[in-house]
Amino acid sequence: MAYSFPEEVLEHVFSFLSSDRDRNAVSLVCKSWYEIERWCRRRVFIGNCYAVSPDIVIRRFPEVRALEMKGKPHFADFNLVPEGWGAYVHPWIRAMSAAYPLLEEIKLKRMVVTDESLELIARSFKNFKVLVLSSCEGFTTDGLASIAANCRNLRELDLRESEVEDLSGHWLSHFPDNCTSLVSLNMSCLGSEVSFSALERLVARCPNLRTLRLNRAVPIEKLPNLLHRAPQLVELGTGAYSAEIRSDIFSNLAEAFSVCKQLKGLSGFWDVVPAFLPAMYSVCSGITSLNLSYATIQSPDLVKLVSQCRNLQRLWVLDYIEDTGLEALAASCKDLQELRVFPSDPFGAEPNVALTEQGLVSVSEGCPKLQSVLYFCRQMSNAALVTIARNRPEMIRFRLCIIEPQAPDYLTLEPLDAGFGAIVENCKELRRLSMSGLLTDKVFEYIGNHAKKLEMLSIAFAGDSDLGLHHVLSGCESLRKLEIRDCPFGDKALLANAAKLETMRSLWMSSCSVSFGACKLLGQKMPRLNVEVIDERGPPDSRPESCPVEKLYVYRTVAGRRADMPGFVWTMDGDKSLTFS
């Protein structure tokens, strides 16, 4: 007996399901739920823009109001994806401009966005509210001007880490005088100076402004003007945090900060002059998120600041903090959940700071809520990893980057298999893992056996043979994204586990030993995968079939092969001959 509900009631129930996973589950229950769900789905998340086509999405979900989409594979961040590879958003914008006139939100990551796309967005969606472009590229400040000028109800404009061709700062002045709806503005990635008076007026007339991330060009002396006009700010990204040391600048700044009683997050801090840091002390007790990854200040100053922030939950910092600083952090910030330590001098041959594995061990000991780590360092030991694993079994994300590739345990000179093995064995909820150092096939055996909830794995310069890859593909049940570079993995493991690839979002392998012949075979046998070979040396069939390909990107799709591949990308599919786009 099925419980009979009117459709609206069921829709109402579904409206309380926030995760995509739940909505997807609901749509697979039965025909009637599938139908009801698709008409009331308002938010769509597409993890790989090539996994599906705009037409398919529009056909299935006719009433979408918010789209979130990702384009290039993660290794694009390390310049492993050549220029012109793809991830163009324009076809999506074109299709949605006709189909979704009520679209309100677009959030993109690692996609190519042009001024044309931005102009089309500005013209097509009358109720457009949210634009988030994370690590995107391809547009200029002219495109931003269109958005500012035409989106009457704009709430969020967030350009985090995008590469924008900065023609001038005039774009900001295009916000009309009657625009009062801004809640979030993140222009931290832009270089040019904007008109400060335009910025001041904009901030003053937007009473709901919660997040303001300035760019480096906004000087510290002007910061109080903005803070006074927006005392309700929750997240602030400063501009350059330096000026000549004058008491009036300091006192103005301190006074302005003291007015902002809601501040929870701070970022920016380019060119920090330590003398100005105490101006912020009045807000430190409320701070939960602190991004000091551009702050080139030394450990003592960092420690003074951080130990004021007793409620800190997230800290991003340079390795200038050193082991001593991390010890102090562990002592003061008991609510710490996420720590990222970035290298100040990654290409230097010798260590320039006293940051070792000990810093991370201290934090793992002192911070009971630590669950997310990104740590760059120059030495590591199995003992340290085992200790960290035992201290923090609730770890969810663990990314360790030992700067020298294939560096062994510095105490025993052994591979770090046992250390990472301990991580996956103890941390049963681990969802993301990034490994480095000297690693053999053994570590992959541990991963395959234990990392059952692992969703994303990044491997570089590790392993000995196909057995390593086979352990991962056959053992990691929850694996969605696998990215590999410079590992001796070849055809066998890949072909034997071909079916596994359909259960994942994507696989990236570069500078490995996968032959062209195997890629062809994989493409032929697996019609629901796009098997793309990236090779800048020229067509793969100009070399023997056994020759390894430069880069391989395999992803599942229901949209078939893509039509926008550049000259150095070939798709392997059913056709025996090479197919070009």
Partner: protein, 357 residues
Amino acid sequence: MTEADSEIIKPEMLKAFVWLQMSDGSIQQVEQEVAMYCPFICQEIHSGMGSSKNYPISLPSRVNPPMLSLILDYCRFHQVPGRSNKERKSFDEKFVRMDTKRLCELTSAADSLQLKPLVDLTSRALARVIEGRTPEEIREIFHLPDDLTEEEKLEPIKNTMDDPRIRLLNRLYARKRKELKERERLKNVEVEEEHADERSVDDLLSFINGDNDDSKGSRTSKNKKKNRKRKDHHKTTPSNSTSSSSNAVDMNKKESNELDSVCSKPSLHGKLLTDVCHETKLLDTEDAGLAAEDEFDDCDLDDDIDPALKEKIDREVEDFARRLNSDWPERMQEILSLGQEKRPLRLTINGNGSLRR
């Protein structure tokens, strides 16, 4: 009012009552101030109904006596103006603690009486029941039919329908998956690590080799022909997938049922089985899970495939099988017995090095 006055005028006499009739004919007398909390009843009262036993308010059929009782409990509590938010919240939390069946009935009943706050409360509770569950579990809880075919759970690749070789492969793939499942169900599987490798290759081989067994019109393709007629009758236009609900093809229902039962058996390990289970959850995660019409069955297996082409494919498949078969066990031994080969040291920074925040 003096004490003497209050003795004469009994409080109950000052209260108004309304009469409510349910679909089973029973009539109930309820305090008006409580019943009026329901907009539906409120409207009826305003149009003059419910003031006497002879003119009771007819409640919608979805409101039966136990549901009415629950709803009135809710109304009785919330219609009192003096209560704090905390009190109300606490009451609500306790109120919705009931089994899913009653929760569904209550949601339905509250909706028919237009009692929005209660609909919200019960809807949220139902959403919590659904959260984190698989489609199979949800189906079980709500007693819903499993009427999406396996093909409908997966959108086929549009442009490959033109390529007969791809259609052949799709078909073989689906059929072999089914046969493998059957085979696994008969075995009692406890897979050891060493065998895991061989098994996976075995499975792949039998998947590939299996197509030699039923190349001509088989039982399955006959069924497909039969069902195709039925499907064509129901289907509107192939390209209009919004009518996917009308594609009532049952052909693979058996298959998908088997698949479901297999997936729910925890004792069945085995890599390919996991893969098979994952197939049905193929679009489970963030790649915008999609389902579609049953285009898979638009073609008939044997009609369009050129025999020479088929032969070519068969040969290719054999070749692949031979390569895997001959190479793998020997290579495995080699790999296991040899020591570790050192890769030349790279001086460039490893892939984890990034200055992006």
